[in-house]
Symmetry: C2
């Protein structure tokens, strides 16, 4: 018997029929003898509808009350899911984040989990019941007010509960069969990745792969929670995110929890895994923008002034490049990337700091794309960057910025050549499937 | 400064615009210096919509989960109301029933309040904030599960909080200007009642006057909470439910809480109140049905067998008549009234008990009406029943059953003559307004 934590997103429970479909899957696990904890998001567009309602009342809703409002969404979906499971003859009990012991700080709208005390969940499991928990929400340790966790919150709830309950696996259900070597909508020959390390997954997520939020992967890595990212529309094995041994086999991952395993393809192709792959995949990100601060006086403290202004706008900057203009030693240009959503506020903050910093010009550019090549194997292969640059050059793609980590190389390009760039790099690193059209994207049940 | 508890029903907060209108009314009280606690129901049809959603998932939702689902309704309305107040520049904090300290038993769907511990509400008031509380809901003392209070639950929440906080008044907002001597839709000459005792209001509510649920009036009476039933669509004084002194003036009712009192009609006409009125009003009820069990053996225990069967169906029976047929001493007929909603289940229970009880025939009748005359003054006026019967006789209305309490006389008639009966009795007891068409029903702001 295993303890399985499952997380279903809003699209998996968008209407009564899909709630019942998810309930049947959960019941299958319970009937196989597993203990099951389910984390669920709000149904379909519920959260957006509630935000619309708030906007009709006031343009500036207090954060505490917005959290109170939005948490009604998961309350509805979790109660309906518990009812649907009960309709199948099994006991299910739904719990709010507060009831489930998800303790957070008091930052409404973007609260961080600081403790998980799942006493009531443990009791429900001991009673033989399935526990359904509202994702995305918790309760403030100090004020006892209801909080929401912000982006990636439901995935993070699932991982946090899995860690606190010492679960055997945390299954993240989505509408695709897991993680691919590239987005199959852009690269039809993209291959399914059976196993990936938390470190690589974190780089993929941080580089724009939307399947998992970096925050949840980081949490899973810190507490060694094995993740299984899979489709709620098929029974295929998805992508397992876990530490691997020398031959690429996941360590401390209990496959026994998988139901009716005989009907499934093997979790991974062990033959192909005998050597750790050089590259896990190619991620891309269209959500970034670039700011260039031109003519910054090349005096100590001036560059710091630029980034103090950026920090005031609370933007998360990603890549930074500083150019020293040829023949001009007194001034320099600083370019950096940031989420496009933060562009306006950051530009305003920099405009305000113009006098203090003394730069000459400010340029905003929201037509950029970012391509990232991720793979633990590149630690021992110094030629990766060179191969990447020549592949892009051959495809006629100009590189505007570069940044690297131990297991990642990222480049900024024009947005309109990003798709071509992804396809060229995917091909150059031999990631294309040899099975032609055999790769099915999006599962079979949809 | 007074502490005012206000309760707004679903029709008062049916959409964003009405939420903002209610917020302005609340703000007016706070700005006048009062401490304000607001109890709010779910918006408009939200509760019905959630029940529909549950029915699409399962025909038999577990009561615990149905409560979890339905409580999402008040969560939405209370958060929006807090936002709307905040938009007016005042602080408001919303609280679930559980957070507000509404402690109940574990009877999901019809929980009873067993304690109120409003520590967080008191703190909010001390901080100068307006407290918004979800009506209709609480938390089980033993299981810590979320409960709903069933019919009349939001009114009862308001009264319970008013009692626990020692409020000066509990205002129940509705869509009419308070209680009338009869339903103005049936009796256009019905008069507004400025003051009524809890005892009389309880009899009126129990007799079909829909403006307040008997449960909330009973709670208010037990804890001496003065009620003010009034319209959320006007600023008119409504009906004050409170103990009165010998001249009909309400005792321990602090009128100082009323805002802009100079713009209002006086709370009551003191001259007309110098003598307590004989009759408070005429209530009617179309929701009852009648069952007749004919030919019950006149042997000890057989009548008890009838009511044991009824008790199994959990029906609340109201009036009971047992006839001994002339010239036939071995068998009797038993008739009783009950809510029409319980008719089918009760008939089934009686059918099942036919062999044991040994009655000869069973009749169901859902075409009955009940008329009740209520007034504390009838204690000292023994002629009330006689006058009632002759008024009905003159109007050609046949009386099928009669029951009385100290301050009420009720009769059962055919449903199709109930309106005529109400008008005849209202007229016979001199309750008709002498001001002709001057009585406005339903407030002026609608």
């Amino acid at each position: 018997m295993s303890l399985v934590v499952q997380k279903y997103g809003g699209s998996s429970v968008a209407e009564a029929a899909s709630v019942k479909r998810v309930a049947r899957r959960i019941a299958q696990y319970r009937r196989a003898g597993h203990e099951v904890v389910v984390v669920v998001s709000a149904m379909g567009d519920t959260t957006d509808d509630l935000i619309d309602l708030a906007e009709r009342v006031t343009p500036t809703p207090p954060a505490r009350e917005l959290d109170m409002l939005l948490t009604a969404g998961e309350r509805i979906s979790m109660a309906l899911l518990a009812m649907a499971i009960s309709d199948l003859g099994l006991e299910a009990r739904s719990f709010t984040g507060s009831q489930a012991g998800v303790i957070t700080d008091s930052a409404h709208g973007r609260a961080r989990i600081i403790d998980v005390t799942p006493g009531r969940i443990r009791t429900a499991l001991d009673d033989g019941a399935i526990a359904i928990v509202a994702g995305f929400q918790g309760v403030s340790q100090t004020t006892k007010d209801i909080t929401t966790l912000g982006r990636g919150g439901s995935d993070t709830t699932a991982v946090a509960l899995a860690a606190a309950l010492d679960a055997d696996v945390c299954e993240i259900y989505t509408d695709v069969d897991g993680v691919f070597t590239a987005d199959p909508r852009i690269v039809p020959a993209a291959q399914h990745i059976p196993v990936i390390t938390p470190e690589e997954m974190l780089e993929m997520a941080a580089s724009g792969a939307k399947i998992l939020h970096a925050r949840c992967v980081e949490y899973a890595r810190r507490y060694s929670v094995p993740l299984h990212v899979r489709s709620s529309f098929s029974t295929n094995t998805g992508t397992i995110v876990a530490e691997v041994d020398r031959v690429g086999f996941p360590i401390s991952f209990n496959e026994m929890y998988l139901p009716s395993k005989s009907n499934q393809e093997p979790a991974m192709d062990t033959e192909a895994s005998l050597e750790a792959p050089l590259i896990s995949g190619v991620a891309h990100d269209r959500s970034q923008a670039k700011i260039t601060v031109a003519g910054v006086p090349d005096i100590p403290g001036k560059a710091a002034g630029v980034f103090q202004a950026v920090a005031k706008a609370e933007a998360n900057i990603d890549m930074i490049v500083q150019n020293v203009a040829v023949g001009q030693t007194t001034r320099t240009d600083i370019s950096f990337t940031l989420p496009a959503a933060d562009l306006a506020a950051t530009m305003a903050a920099l405009e305000a700091a113009r006098g203090e910093v003394g730069y000459s010009e400010l340029f905003a550019d929201n037509k950029i794309g970012k391509l990232s090549l991720v793979g633990a194997g590149m630690r021992s292969h110094p030629g990766v960057s060179a191969k990447l640059f020549s592949a892009l050059s051959e495809a006629g793609v100009n590189i505007e910025m570069i940044s690297t980590s131990e297991i990642r190389v990222s480049v900024v390009t024009r947005a309109d050549v990003l798709d071509d760039a992804v396809r060229a790099v995917h091909h150059a690193f031999d990631l294309d499937s040899t099975e032609g059209e055999a790769i099915v994207y999006g599962g079979t049940g949809r």
